[in-house]
Structure formats: C-alpha cells, structure tokens
Amino acid sequence: MKILLLTVLIAGAAFCSNLFFPWWSIAPTSFIVATLIDVKPFKAFLCGLFALFFLWGGLSWWISYSNDHLLAGKMGLVILQSKQPFKLIIITALIGGFIGAFSALTGSLTRSLFVLNDNKE
C-alpha cells in the first residue's frame, strides 16, 4: 500500500509543482515526498521511476495524441533524427522517470538517516 501511496504522491506533487515552478522542481518534490513515507530505498527508487515515467510519458502522449503527433514528428526529427513520435515520448518519460527515481531514492535514504526503527515495507 505504501508503495502505491508513494508513487501516487510523487506523481501528484510533481504535477502540481510544475504548474508553478521550473521543470526540475520534480526533483525536490519527489525527494520530499519520499522522506515522508517509509519505503525501502530500492522500492522508493522504483516508485519515483514509475511515478514520473508514467506522469511524463502519459502527459506527453496525451498532448501528442490530441495534436495528431504533428509536433512530435517534427521535434523528433530535430532532436533525435527520427520521425517516430513515440521515441520522443519515451525519451520524455525516461527523463522524468530517472529524475523521479534518483530523487525518491535520495529522499528515502535521507529518511533512513534520521528515522530509526522504521517498519520498512
């Protein structure tokens, strides 16, 4: 349950922070959320990875789908020399995912430094 909660909270916090703050604010928010919920570091890593992989991947897919992949096709060529819009979506998801993962891992590790006797799930 805690894993699910952490994943959802990381995604929710990242989404909200990006309404107001620069894109990299997903790192501090994921970090903070991971310090609040006690999940083992490796699991927290996976939670951060999945949360932002699916948030960024999902958002960019939805935007691109609504746009008939017009921009993704062009930007894919500019950035990746590939016309496949899905490549651009996957890269987006991976960027979000990895930053989420390492932030959550850092958060979880930090928590374990200060909080003893956790009931690690």
Partner: protein
C-alpha cells in the same frame, strides 16, 4: 538494567557506525546524481539542447503542440485600451478585428501579430538592427557589422523621428507597440513560442523603434540590389566598348510599365558629368556581402470594367519575395469607425500593405530602380577625422556601434559618417583587398520618411484622390501601386523618392570628394510615370522599366522584362475577363523568354553533329510547348541548354576577371544573339579558331546533354523536380520546412515560383458593388510549427487555388464557424 540498556545501545551504535557512514555516503551520492541529472538536462553544457527543460510536458515544447480542435478563444484585460475589442478567428485562423477606435484597432493588430508571429517579428528586427550575434554568437558578427555599417539603425532612427513628429502615426505605433507588449507580458515558460525554447532566450519588449527597424528591413530587401562594385570591376576589366555589349544602354524587347512617350524636357535641371565614363576605373575590390535576391519583384495589374465580363475592374497582385516559414505575411480584416480593410499585413508593423476596403483595392510591385550608390571617400589619415570634399577638409562624425555577442564580450565598431552617409566599406571592414580605400553609401532609405502613413491612408482611402494623397508618403522602397475603385477608376503609379540621375550616374562607384557626382535632387512628383484610366483598358507592372526611353531622367537598365511582356500580351488579347481567367493568368507558366530563345537554339544546334544521347534531348527540346509546368521535361532541357550556352559564351571571357564581377542577364545574351550572330563574346578565346554561334551552340548542347542525362537518372528531369521549390523555416531546420513542392513556374513566368522565392501572396479583387476577392499565400496564419495552421495554405497555393476573402460584418459571425473569439478588455 539501565546501564545494560545503555551499553547495548552503545554497542549497537558502534556496530552501526560504519553502516551509517555508508548510508550517508550513498545518500550524498544519490543527491549528487539527482542534482547532476537536473543540471545536465537543464543546460547545453553537455547535450546540444537542454533536453529536460525542452521535453518537460508542462513547460517544454509539448506545450506548443496545439490540439486538433483547439479553441483559440481568450479574454485578456490589457492596459492602454480605450474600449473593448472583439476578434473573431475564422476557420482559416484569419482574425476579423472589430474596435471602437483606431488606437484600439492597431493595439489589437499588434497583439495578434505577437500572438501568432512573435518570434519571427522579433528575429527579423534583431537581424535588421545588426543584433543577430546576441542570439547566435560570433558567427553572425559579419552580418551585424554589415548592417550597422549600412546604417540600418541610423535609418530606423530617422524613420522613428518622422513617426514621432506626426501625432497620428505616433498614436498608431504606440497602440501597436502596447498590443505586442500586452501579449509578451502574458507569456509564461509554457506559452513561450517554440523557437525561444529551442534557442534558449526570451523576447524583449517591443518598441516603435522596432517597427521602424522592420520597415527598414523591407527597404533592405527591396531597394538594395544594385551592383555598383561588380559593375565597376567589370567595366575596369573589359573596357568601355565591351562593357556596353554586356550591359547595353537599351534593353529589348521591353514593354515599360507606363508606355507613354515623353516630350517635355525634365523639370529638374540636372547637370551631367560628361567625362564620367572616362574616370579611371581602378577601383577593383573584393568586397563581398550578402545581397537580397535580385529577382525580388512582383506582378500587379488592373483590368478596367470595359474589359471584364461583370463590368467591374479586377485587380490582381502577387509580390515575389523570399519564401519562408513562418510567412512574411499575416492575413487580417480590420474594422473600426474609420477603417474596414482586408488584406495581408507585416508582423512587425501596423497597417495592411496590400489589400482592399469597401471602396478601393490596391497592390504593389517593387520599383527596383537604383537608389543606393557608393562614393569613394578620401580621409586625412587613418584617424578618419576629416574627409576631402570640394577641396576642403570636412569633419567626420563617428558612430560607435556596440555589438553584443552571445557567450563573448562586445565588439565595438566605429563607423565614420560623411555628408554622403556612413562609410560602409574600408580596410577595417570589407576584406584585406580593399587596399586602403573607403566607400560611403548614399541610400534613399537613410532619408527621413514615414511610409506607414502611406499604407494607413490607403487602408481608409475611398477614391482616386485619396489614393494619390496616400502615395505621397511613399519614399523607399519605391513601389508601383496598382489601384482600382468601385466607381470604375483604375490607375498605376510608380511611386517613390527617386534620385534624378544623369546618364549612368551611380552605375559605378563615384568619387566622393567632388560634389558634381552627388545626386542633385529628386524627380518631381509631377514627373512620376503614371496612368489613370488609360485608353488600353488596363494597367500593369512586373518590375520592368517604369517608362519609355524618352523619359527625361536616367532609369538604369537593370530590370527583368519577360513577365511584363507576357502579362501585357495576355491583357490585350481578351476583353471579357473574369476572376477565373485572372486566376489562370496569375498561375500561368508560359515561358516568354524561351519563346525568343528557342529559335536561336533550334536553328544553331546542328543535329547531325550530336551523339545519340544529345539527339534524344534535342528531340525533347523540339517537342516542348514552352510551358514551365511542374511535369514539363522540355522546360528542364531548355534551362540546362541555355545555361550551358550562356556559360560557353561568357566563361572564357570572365575567367581572368575579378571575382566580384557583374554578369549579364540571360535576357541580354538573347537580346544580342537575336540581332547579331557574330556577338563578340561568342568566340572562345582559349582556342585558335574563331567559333561561330552554331559551333558554340552545338558544342554546349552536347555538354548540357551529359548533365541532362545525370538529371534524368536521378529522376529529376520534370521541371518541378529539377527546380525543387522549398519553403524553409527561418532557422533552416528542415523538419519545420516544406520541401520538394510540386509546382511549376520560374523567373520568366507570371507564376514566378523559383527554388525558394516566388509569389508570396496572390490576390485578386473584383471591385463590383458586391466585392469578390480571393487570395492565398504559401504558409499559414500560426507561426507555431506545432499547429495545424502552420503551413495549411501551402497545398492550396501549390495547386493554384485560392481562398475567398470577405469584409465580414461582425453580426454575421453569429452564424459562421470560427476557431475562437478573442476579447481584449481595458483595465
């Protein structure tokens, strides 16, 4: 117990100490990895783009992907508005603006230009101001120095003064600027135009000065294509006699814009320099500079009601300019109590430069006369503090230009100004071969003028008188203004501030220390070539000479003539014109140049001397119908054959000429070959024998046939494929561009579509009581490559089709389909 517990804890802690150290280490390591990832993906330090910033779905480029059924509606409270402005965006994203007063109308125009074209107008004015290095770094330094030294900023300052001196134009520019800035201040990281995100910068605020810069950029594009340096070199290399065989005083065949004969002497008494032609031409330079396309031109014509089926005049206009995305044009309909005008506007300036209102329609083509001359300046010494003029030493003024450079320190360029203008080229700029000489540039675009008033007054003109009054403000770039009114008047006026020149004045570099070489005045308005309701029932212009050779002032000889010939021939041949016929005419691909050149090729190439391959192409050439249609193979064969003949005629003679030399027009070669098969340049000077035209034509066709074979093997023999028209995004990024467009036409055809240049807006307006108007441009209203409105007009343009244009009343939008409604509200 207590003690035990303590020691147990102590032990525990001791045991855990190494594990805690390990944990601290991993935590710090993870934090560092996270921070490094964020940094890496937010900068261009390692990757060429800030990938994280760019791809973040809520702030990056994904936000520029416009949903397919996007509703463009918005409501914006804005400072500076007097009342509420309603804007309906029709199904093609053309804004129809309804305002209560003129200021609000132009506020809205500025807002809409920025909403859909901000990056483009920003970039163009940065380039015009010689500030490109601020955006792209040192590689643009030469461009920036050239523009500063040409006096673009100086010219824009003079224009701004004129705008500020006229309260009406100032109020319009102020409102326009406020509108642009209202949009800029509404921007956030996510709504920033795509190109800013890609290039990593942010728009600066708009100003009236930027509008002035934009207008001067148009002058640069349209009134800066003389070949003074090139011709000076060519004249020095070949000598006077041969030079006149390359650049003859009279061009033929030609059908001037205004065909009237001039009998009265010039009103302005200009004193010619009789020995101009014998001045030593030792001014060889190797200055190089980017020049605007020489073929910047256009077509416009008006057919009087006597020659149309509906009895109302029909006006047609298609300005030929560099084709880019986003397009130079933005289509609009503006309505206020004093305006009700439809047409295309320049993002960057208020008003509608080409269009129609309820009473009149107008269109422009470029005047193309030489209004930029260079003078050699004699300075006292390297300090340049004084220059020689009429035997006296005059004081130089200096302008220090600071050129800021992205990722580097500023470069300062001190430009000397004389009474003639800025010293553009000198040994500090223009290459080492300037051999210590300095050249000042005299350009009409430097002179104070307020062209905006011309367009704003045209926008609300009701009749011929208003049209004349509006035109009086047009100084540079001089334009041929076609006019039609609902009352049946038609007119053409070759308007501009034209220096009154003696024969050949300014064809070459002139001495700057002798006042007799200076321009002595401007051609009086009363002697401007023009036609008003002429007998022949039509007026037309296609950048050919404005008047007959009997005109009492020197007009130069650097004009394209082909399009003018075919337009006038077609206009004279029909007296029941309809809009459909004019559409066909505007997209016509008949090659009138080839009509004259084909007999030369066919009669001089000796078929028997050709090999099998060349014979194959000679047959294709013989069967060609003289149309440069998309699929025409004959057109490609002709083009290659004439190119090769041209090269065979001139290349040997030019082999040792200075690199910077002027070459004759293709039409000049034809002009001489038609009347003189012993044209002196025909002989190949590298062979002992004297070649005849027939020998040269056969030899060059054989050579051209090899190229034709290669072209055919690559599948590019059809004309459209060979010409390969493309419309590039201003960044030259191919994915944002449209390549390989299947369209015919070319430089000699009415449909003047070349590789990346051509009809940038096609418009046809019939001034009947119920106006019928059609138009199309190769682009789209939205400058955003992520929008379906980015390039949605291009296919229609390629197919030679048009969209209907309508002065829609606000009330009828209740029933019309739109893609959004924008409301601008005062705060």
């Amino acid at each position: 117990m207590k003690l035990f517990k303590f020691t147990e804890l102590q032990l525990c802690l001791n045991l855990q100490q190494s594990s805690i150290n390990m944990r601290i280490f991993s935590t710090v390591l993870c934090a560092l990895i996270t921070a490094a990832l964020c940094y890496l993906l937010n900068t261009i330090a390692v990757l060429p783009v800030p990938l994280g910033k760019l791809l973040s779905p809520q702030g990056g480029i994904w936000q520029n992907a416009v949903p397919r059924n996007f509703d463009f509606s918005m409501e914006l409270p804005a400072k500076g508005l007097k009342g509420e402005v309603e804007i309906f965006l029709d199904e093609r994203l053309v804004p129809h603006v309804y305002a209560d007063n003129d200021e609000d109308l132009f506020f809205a125009q500025g807002f809409l230009h920025a909403r859909f074209r901000l990056w483009q107008m920003d970039l163009q004015t940065m380039a015009a101001a010689g500030r490109a290095s601020e955006l792209v770094g040192k590689k643009a330094l030469d461009h920036d120095r050239e523009f500063r030294r040409l006096g673009m900023v100086y010219a824009a300052e003079n224009a701004l003064n004129e705008i500020n001196n006229d309260p009406y134009s100032k109020s319009i520019c102020d409102a326009y600027t406020a509108g642009v800035n209202a949009y800029i201040s509404s921007l956030s990281q996510s709504t920033l135009p795509l190109e800013y995100k890609l290039m990593g910068y942010y728009p600066e605020n708009w100003s009236n000065f930027k509008t002035a810069l934009f207008l001067k950029y148009m002058s640069y594009d349209l009134a800066a294509h003389e070949q003074d340096f090139e011709k000076t070199n060519t004249r020095a290399f070949f000598g006077a006699e041969k030079f006149h065989l390359l650049f003859p005083d009279t061009i033929s065949p030609v059908d001037p814009i205004i065909p009237d004969k001039w009998t009265a002497p010039a009103e302005l008494n200009i004193i010619p320099r009789v020995n101009y032609d014998t001045i030593a031409f030792d001014r060889v330079q190797t200055i190089t500079s980017d020049k605007p396309d020489r073929d910047n031109g256009s077509n416009n014509w008006v057919i009087s009601g006597h020659r149309t089926q509906d009895g109302a005049p029909i006006l047609a206009n298609d300005p030929h300019l560099g084709l880019n995305l986003p397009s130079l044009w933005f289509e609009m309909h503006l309505q206020s109590p004093s305006f009700n005008v439809y047409g295309v506007s320049f993002p960057g300036a208020p008003s509608i430069p080409i269009g129609f209102n309820n009473n009149i329609a107008w269109g422009v083509t470029n005047g193309g006369r030489d209004v930029r001359d260079y003078f050699e300046v004699t300075f006292n010494d390297d300090s340049r503090t004084q220059y020689l003029f009429d035997g006296k030493w005059e004081q130089t003024h200096f302008r220090i230009e600071e050129i800021k450079i992205k990722g580097g320190s500023s470069v300062y360029d001190t430009v000397a100004y004389t009474n003639l203008g800025p010293v553009m080229y000198e040994n500090r700029f223009g290459g080492k071969a300037s051999i210590g000489k300095s050249f000042a540039v005299r350009w009409t675009a430097h002179d104070p003028s307020n062209e905006l008033l011309c367009f704003i007054n045209l926008n609300k003109a009701n009749n011929y008188k208003d049209y004349l009054q509006a035109l009086s403000y047009m100084k540079a770039p001089g334009q041929n203004f076609a006019f039609a009114s609902k009352t049946g008047d038609i007119a053409m006026r070759t308007q501009g501030q034209w220096p009154a020149k003696w024969n050949h004045q300014g064809d070459f570099i002139m001495p700057g220390e002798d006042s007799t070489f200076l321009w002595q005045g401007y051609i009086p308005d009363s002697e401007t070539p023009m036609q008003y309701n002429p007998q022949r029932g039509f007026v037309s212009s296609a950048n050919q000479p404005p008047a007959d050779i009997s005109y009492p002032y020197y007009l130069g000889t650097d004009y394209p003539t082909s399009r003018g010939l075919i337009i006038n021939r077609m206009l004279a041949a029909d007296s029941t014109f309809t809009i459909e016929k004019v559409k066909k005419m505007q997209t016509n691909n008949y090659n009138v140049f080839a009509e004259g050149a084909m007999p030369i090729l066919m009669s001089n190439i000796s078929k028997e001397a050709l090999g099998e391959n060349a014979q194959h192409y000679f047959k294709i050439l013989g069967e060609w119908d003289l149309y440069n249609n998309n699929e025409s193979v004959g057109a490609t064969v002709f083009e290659l054959a004439w190119n090769e003949l041209y090269n065979a005629v001139y290349d040997d003679d030019y082999a040792k000429a200075p690199k910077l030399a002027a070459k004759p027009a293709y039409t000049t070669l034809l002009q001489f070959l038609v009347k003189d098969s012993a044209y002196v340049f025909i002989d190949d000077i590298n062979t002992p024998e004297i070649e005849s035209l027939s020998v040269l034509a056969t030899r060059s066709f054989k050579k051209a046939a090899e190229e034709m074979k290669r072209v055919e093997q690559n599948g590019r023999l059809p004309w459209g494929k060979y010409k390969d028209t493309h419309i590039m995004h201003l960044t030259k990024l191919e994915p944002f561009s449209r390549l390989h467009l299947p369209i015919g036409g070319g430089k000699y055809e009415i449909n003047a579509t070349k590789e990346n240049h051509g009809p940038s807006w096609r418009m046809i307006v019939q001034m009947s009581s119920n106006i019928k108007a059609f138009g199309v441009y190769p682009g789209g209203q939205d400058g955003n490559p992520g929008s379906r409105f980015y390039d949605n007009f291009i296919n229609t343009w390629v197919e030679g089709e048009y969209f209907p244009l309508e002065l829609v009343e606000k009330t009828s939008f209740k029933k019309k389909k739109t893609v959004g409604k924008i409301i601008l509200k005062p705060v």
